[in-house]
Symmetry: C2
Subunit: 195 residues, 2 copies
């Protein structure tokens, strides 16, 4: 069964991408199979072939996929920059995404975390945790003590998630800019205090 799914990645991947896109715009509850089909162009008959667990399975797989996509992006940026540079690069990417979508496309993991599918909520929690771990590792590598690095990492993830929500509601990227300015002050101070 898994092999059969693997051999037809086209509509399956398109449905997952469609679900992610709709979750970002309107949340989990308002992401219907009909809308996912309309957006992805997948044939109606493919739903229960690819997702025998129904909407629950689709939303969970979309959350896993989005989590990996964001996590890989964070990892790549952290590999080529210090923490502060990485935060600025991330905010630049999100600012562009918000502006291009007229502030309609938010974070798919926040949507999963606040959504009506319990399994997806749990996946979102693990996703936030994995991003915090990436940032904690980076900060400790820059000399910040473990415990402090962990709480700064949690602040960074929380503040960026919250700033995305403010930015969407206010249709302005100003909250992201203000938040990254203050995170820079905090990160520089935490790194310099151990030097």
């Amino acid at each position: 069964m898994a092999r059969r799914q693997d051999s037809t990645p086209g509509p399956r991947a398109a449905m997952i991408d469609g679900a992610i896109s709709l979750m970002r715009e309107r949340g989990v509850a308002a992401t219907s199979f009909a809308d996912v089909l309309a957006r992805s162009g997948a044939p109606r008959g493919s739903i229960y072939h690819h997702f025998p667990g129904g909407k629950t399975q689709l939303v969970e797989e979309a959350t896993v996929s989005a989590s990996k996509w964001v996590g890989t992006g964070i990892e790549r940026i952290l590999d080529t920059s210090d923490t502060v540079g990485a935060l600025r690069a991330l905010v630049d990417i999100w600012r562009t995404g918000l502006e291009e979508s007229r502030y309609e496309q938010g974070c798919p993991i926040a949507a999963a975390a606040l959504g009506t599918e319990r399994g997806a909520r749990v996946i979102a929690g693990a996703s936030f945790d994995s991003w915090c771990t990436l940032l904690t590792t980076k900060l400790t590598g820059e000399g910040v003590p473990d415990e402090r690095a962990g709480s700064i990492a949690t602040l960074i993830v929380s503040a960026l998630e919250g700033a995305l929500i403010l930015a969407q509601a206010q249709e302005s990227s100003a909250p992201l800019d203000a938040v990254v300015d203050e995170l820079e002050v905090l990160c520089r101070s935490a790194v310099s205090s151990v030097r």
Copy 2:
């Protein structure tokens, strides 16, 4: 018409409270009239009497009501404490709310900001802005320069909103505790640097 509504505040207020509660648990899209009636105990016939604009009006009024309720709480706490003390008091209230609801009841304004009702999104944006203004005023009163106070206030609102989402997804108040620890470091440093 307004007077008639004012003379029967019981079911109307109960429906607004029910809508706020459901928005906190499952978001705007999944907050149906039927569920609001079931939760509030209001009679079915009262919906279009009290909310001739339908669900859009109910969700908008619920967002306005929740915004005032949170804003008044923030104002009251800021009146009796410095910024850091106020943040700790707010986090204590939210921690209790999360634990008592088994992490089901999040922020109604975040729900409105990410929800499917455009008018409620705009109200949420103004609500975040008004909270930022309260915090900016407090911080400038503590000696932080205007521009810095504004960006710290935006960080505080963003970080607490984000931490609530992490806390719900992870069913733990640890993100709130980590965030308030770091916000305390930043606020103390901003205040002491101007003394």
